[in-house]
């Protein structure tokens, strides 16, 4: 079974850099790393291929400046290869353009299953997965916390607010997984060494047959109107416990209508 995982490479959240006031987007001149949200998808894919007893995990990523650092991490975890789309024309892409590009890139692979995260850690629109599915004409299952394969069907446990739903759908399909549902493995030293020589297929819009004015700033249907600092959180109330603190907490929660 072959699984494609869409992985986004993002600026290190520990050292996120700055917003560019001009384009109102993140400055991406820093080294990018594997989005932690996507490490769960990679882990799940590796486990699925493992229990299927054969096949490969292939990564697909769109990123500026032919960035491969984040891909190398996922390759070191055990993915077999990657398709990287990098093209100056992609600057300014919105989530639909991103989905178009990723869909085309996925088309270069033979995928039985496409895994994404539910939302990325930096953009977090959470709209790319469903758009990829739509563009490829595939079924889409979201919020997966567990994936099981039998034959050509996937059975997914979908996380909901109150529990989970069990759904099934035929493959190929697009499944987006929730963060934290598996324990992503740490790359081993040998994995890191092997990752150096794993194939990364670097492609441009032209290679994918994408018109450059359909993507990037010119193709974007979304516009960022303004960026503002997040409001500082107000200081909380500290209750000294003189025996009745629990009552104050209960009445506070009742006010919020959570009790």
């Amino acid at each position: 079974m072959n699984v494609v995982v869409c992985v986004k490479q993002i600026p290190d959240p520990a050292d996120p850099g700055e917003l560019d006031p001009e384009s109102k987007t993140l400055k991406r001149d820093v080294k990018l790393i594997l989005d932690e949200s996507d490490s769960y998808g990679v882990e799940m894919a590796l486990q699925l291929v493992d229990s299927a007893g054969g096949g490969d995990v292939t990564l697909v990523s769109m990123a500026p400046n032919n960035e491969v650092s984040g891909l190398r991490t996922a390759l070191a975890m055990g993915a077999a290869g990657a398709v990287l789309v990098s093209d100056e024309a992609l600057a300014g892409s919105d989530s639909l353009s991103t989905a178009k590009v990723l869909a085309k890139a996925i088309g270069r692979t033979e995928a039985d299953l496409i895994i994404t995260a539910t939302e990325s850690s930096d953009g977090y629109t959470g709209t790319v997965p469903a758009q990829i599915a739509e563009l490829l004409g595939l079924p889409s299952v979201t919020f997966a916390k567990e994936i099981n394969i039998s034959g050509s069907t996937v059975a997914v446990k979908r996380q909901t607010e109150t529990g989970y739903l069990e759904v099934e759908c035929p493959m190929p399909c697009v499944v987006s997984v929730t963060a934290g549902v598996v324990e992503p493995r740490y790359p081993s030293f040998k994995g890191i060494m092997a990752a150096k020589s794993k194939p990364v297929d670097e492609v441009t819009c032209a290679d994918l047959g994408i018109e450059t004015d359909a993507v990037g700033w010119s193709g974007a249907r979304q516009e960022i109107i303004g960026i503002d600092r997040a409001e500082e959180r107000e200081a909380g109330e500290i209750i000294e416990d003189e025996g009745e603190a629990h009552e104050r907490i209960i009445s506070f929660l009742e006010e919020l209508k959570v009790l």
Binding site: R72, T73, A76, Y186, P187, S188, F189, K190, I192, M193, A195, K196
Partner: protein
């Protein structure tokens, strides 16, 4: 947060990583791999190993029904660490290791030590056993033990110390009797055995020094044995328990989670032991791995010092107290007070020097085993031998000082255990003691290392320093009096070296009396050399870091290096005064 920036910079600036990677046998390693590897190792340190440091300090390892239990979370961390191959990075690829130069592998040892010094000891000891088996073990022993020691399924220990044999290993009494089948039966007690027992692995492979009944006295009569905790069947599976018991664990000042065991061999019919190499060659074998073992202790010291420094620096930019000169209104950050700023830069300048010395030492060890020309290998062997006591002795002493300063930066909170900075001081305090006390290192330096090649080895080191100081004078780099003070320190060092060499033949006690100040002097000089190289390489790169590197180099030259000048009379003071107090008067 691991000090990746400075490690990466030091690798290039001080240790010429690119030249080491060009040596035979390192074709599979390049600069990108080093970056990726260090990044992932740092992540494991931060996410997995580091968080267990305080936990381990609090609960410690404990002995329950004859079996040592490591603290909660230890097993899982060890599993991740060994499955990742992080414990076997420097071991040759043909034995399943990562085949990295020591120079590079040691960066991981430094980081893991900083994350959790009690944790790192286990893998350091396993590496030692692996080295011993590769160098001197028979093919059968290698096949039986190496694969599992390398992949971490089993771990190794070193059993030298006995109640009456510490610094003087030659005094050991542990007995080995030849058995009819060619194996031996081992009888005796060993003390202070690090990870002598634990629950991290399926088996523990003890390396035990013992003597046969007809062995010559002293170090010439010591043999080295493999004594597994659980005997290994011919098909490689685990068989019966060997006659080996962990009697008790020590209650220690620091590294609480690293079990320090009293081990008893042969309470019943004798523990089955397998001879390594030949009888009576044990001490010689130990010497072949001494450089690496001592280097690792120096690295522990660097790692812990770095962690303490970071904690102190963070605190100094958080805590407000008093009004600093020039500040409009108080309270100011304590980092704005000159005396606190002095403590911070003093720690930082020392750590950079220590790290650099450890790297110079490691690079020499790599050249010794991988350079293509025999004379290059020989020169490197001399350099490694010279730097080993300097690195072990100086870095560990400085680590105690740095961690103490880190406590000082915290004021009263530094003395409070919950703050966490006291642990670093308690932990690193063992580093000047084990793997040969620093007193023994100093003696090794003056009696064995100075005379090497009739003074050629140390002379070449001085020449190399001089050449780099000359480059500094030729370059337009602003590091204050570093160059001038290096020139004077170098001539002081040459002078006392000559005095020590001349005096040793006539009055060895004069020399031994000055050994520790001389080691200190050599450490200071070597640290100065590190800063010269850092300054020569500093002008490019991130402006903030460039400025910081030049500042620490300057501080080192201005305020640390001049201690050399006060050490000169101490080195040459002789022993008479030391023995001037009558024995009976000591207790009065």
């Amino acid at each position: 947060m691991a000090p990746l920036d400075d490690i990466r910079f030091s690798l290039d600036a001080v240790a010429e990583l690119s030249a080491i990677l060009e040596l035979d046998g390192f074709d599979h390693v390049d600069s990108d791999l080093v970056d990726a590897m260090l990044g992932e190792a740092a992540r494991i340190c931060t996410e997995v190993i580091g968080p267990l440091n305080a936990v381990g300090d609090k609960s410690g390892s404990v002995l329950v029904d004859g079996q040592v239990r490591t603290p909660e979370g230890w097993s899982q961390a060890y599993e991740i660490f060994s499955a990742g191959g992080w414990g076997s990075l420097p071991i040759d690829m043909s034995f399943g290791g990562g085949g990295l130069p020591w120079l590079v592998a040691n960066c991981v040892t430094e980081m893991v030590s900083g994350a959790n010094m009690a944790f790192v000891a286990c893998s350091i000891l396993s590496q030692g056993s692996v080295d011993m088996l590769i160098a001197h073990g028979s093919e059968t022993l290698q096949q039986t033990y190496l694969p599992k020691l390398v992949d971490g399924t089993w771990t190794g220990t070193m059993n030298l110390t006995e109640p009456d044999a510490g610094s003087d290993v030659g005094a050991l009494r542990c007995r080995a009797e030849r058995a009819a089948d060619g194996t031996y039966r081992i009888f005796g007690t060993k003390i202070f055995i690090t990870y002598g027992d634990h629950d991290l692995a399926d088996n523990i492979v003890h390396l035990v020094l013992a003597r046969t009944s007809d062995a010559p006295v002293g170090t010439k009569g010591i043999s080295c044995f493999i004594v597994p905790k659980v005997l290994v069947n011919d098909d490689g599976t685990l068989g019966e328990e060997n006659d080996v018991t962990c009697l008790s664990l020590e209650h220690k000042m620091g590294i609480h989670a690293s079990p320090t065991a009293v081990m008893s061999f042969g309470d019943e019919d004798g523990a089955v032991g397998y001879l390594i190499g030949e009888e009576n060659h044990g001490m010689r074998y130990m010497f072949t791995m001494m450089n690496v073992a001592r280097l690792q202790v120096g690295l522990q010291a660097v790692g812990v010092a770095e962690r303490a420094y970071r904690q102190a620096a963070q605190y100094a930019f958080d805590r407000r107290q008093g009004r600093a000169v020039g500040a409009a209104a108080g309270p100011s950050l304590i980092a704005e007070h000159a005396d606190v700023a002095r403590m911070l830069i003093d720690m930082r300048a020392h750590i950079e020097a220590m790290r650099g010395i450890a790297m110079l030492n490691a690079a020499a060890i790599d050249r010794e085993s991988h350079a293509s020309e025999p004379d290059e290998r020989e020169a490197a062997a001399g350099r490694a031998a010279l730097l080993t006591p300097i690195n072990k002795g100086w870095c560990t002493d400085r680590s105690v000082a740095v961690t103490s300063t880190a406590i000082q930066v915290h004021g009263g909170l530094g003395f409070i255990e919950e703050t966490g900075v006291a642990q670093h001081y308690r932990d690193t305090r063992i580093t000047p003691i084990y793997e040969g006390t620093n007193g023994i290192q100093a003696i090794d330096l003056v009696t064995r290392k100075l005379p090497m090649g009739s003074g050629r080895v140390i002379g070449e080191f001085f020449d190399e320093i001089e050449q780099h100081v000359a480059l500094l004078f030729g370059a337009d780099i602003e590091v204050g009096p570093l160059g001038d003070n290096m020139t004077s320190a170098l001539s002081s060092a040459r002078m006392v070296t000559r005095w020590l060499t001349d005096t040793f033949g006539t009055d060895p006690n004069e020399v031994l009396a000055g050994a520790t100040p001389f080691l200190d002097l050599m450490g200071l000089l070597s640290g100065g050399y590190v800063h010269v190289r850092r300054a020569l390489a500093a002008p490019s790169g991130d402006a903030e870091l460039v400025a910081a590197r030049l500042a620490t180099a300057r501080f080192y030259g201005e305020q640390i290096l001049p201690r050399v000048f006060s050490l000169v009379p101490m080195v040459m003071a002789g022993s008479e005064t030391l023995f001037a107090i009558d024995e009976a008067a000591w207790s009065r």
